[in-house]
């Protein structure tokens, strides 16, 4: 894969890579660093990229693995992510102004999900991948993806309904 091929096929994925990294790593800075690191790795291996039938799925799998490794390293260093120590341009600002805003609540509800469900929600509901593609990226059977996705959607909906009905924040 030469430079122009790389720029045409791999570079346009940078937003998807970044959004998945941010979903997992929470902070914007870390997600940006991860994206840069991942692109450096992809660039170094651009000769091998041709061997993969689905470059996009490969890049997303790499993103997933890299971010999970980062999280694991962080946990073993006893540096847990504190939910208040990140700033998100659009979301936390809204949160300050209007705490009841349920859109930002959705963000928190997704952040509270297990990592696998988080990734599946991200890939399906934000990036609109097919179940087969998500299965390829996460190394899961499509049915397993469906089960986890259903569980995640139900959890989020249940929490949102609770708030909606009782006004609990």
């Amino acid at each position: 894969m030469n430079q122009t091929e790389f720029l045409n096929t791999v570079l346009p994925l940078k937003d998807k890579v970044f959004r998945l990294a941010k979903r997992l790593l929470v902070s914007r800075d870390e997600a940006e660093d991860a994206t840069q690191e991942l692109y450096f790795k992809l660039w170094k291996n651009k000769e091998k990229l041709q061997e993969y039938k689905n470059v996009e799925a490969f890049a997303m799998t790499m993103t997933k693995n890299y971010c999970l490794d980062q999280l694991k390293a962080k946990r073993s260093n006893n540096l847990t992510l504190v939910h208040s120590n990140y700033t998100d341009d659009n979301i936390s600002l809204q949160k300050d102004i209007e705490l009841k805003d349920s859109v930002s609540r959705v963000h928190e509800l997704i952040a509270a999900l297990p990592e696998k469900q988080k990734m599946i929600i991200q890939l399906r509901d934000v990036e609109n991948y097919e179940f087969e593609e998500i299965g390829k990226i996460l190394d899961l059977q499509p049915t397993a993806v469906r089960v986890a996705l259903s569980r995640a959607r139900k959890t989020i909906r249940k929490q949102l309904t609770k708030q909606h009905n009782y006004g609990i924040i």
Partner: protein, 148 residues
């Protein structure tokens, strides 16, 4: 889109049985202003998905780092090592002298020593002559000044 139809899709959505097309229909419905009150919570959910998709990576991606410039350094280093090894080898082989060369060198040494001896003999001679003339000079001086 009829409400019963939407309710149907919502249920399928929760069971993760909707296709991407059906999910697009839901997304479209919930982005409208008039959403049935009992489905309001989904409005926030789909609104959140839409805003999430808008997020962009704004930093630059450095594809070429400084590391890539180091490959020629290793070549330069290996060339330097090869040259130095060659030079060392070259001098060590030339230090092994053939007997003929040794004889020539000894002859040269002898010649040089002879030449030096000749010079020093002449120098000695010259010294004696000078001393003798100094003696003459003293005699002449004494005659003039009559010191004793």
């Amino acid at each position: 889109m009829e409400l019963s139809n939407i309710e149907n899709l919502v249920e399928k959505y929760e069971n993760a049985e909707t296709s991407l097309q059906e999910e697009a229909v839901l997304k479209n419905y919930f982005s409208n202003e008039d959403v049935a009150p009992h489905l309001m919570e989904y409005k926030a959910l789909f609104a959140y998905f839409n805003t999430s998709k808008e997020e962009r990576f704004t930093k630059t991606i450095p594809l070429k780092r400084k590391q890539t410039n180091f490959w020629w350094l290793s070549i330069a280093a290996s060339v330097a090592i090869m040259v130095s090894v060659y030079v060392v080898n070259d001098t060590s082989t030339s230090s092994s002298i053939t007997p003929q060369e040794l004889a020539e060198a000894e002859q040269a040494l002898k010649d040089t020593q002879k030449a030096f001896q000749l010079i020093s003999q002449n120098l000695n001679k010259g010294g004696n002559v000078a001393m003798a003339s100094l003696g003459e000079f003293e005699k002449a001086q004494n005659k003039v000044f009559k010191i004793e």
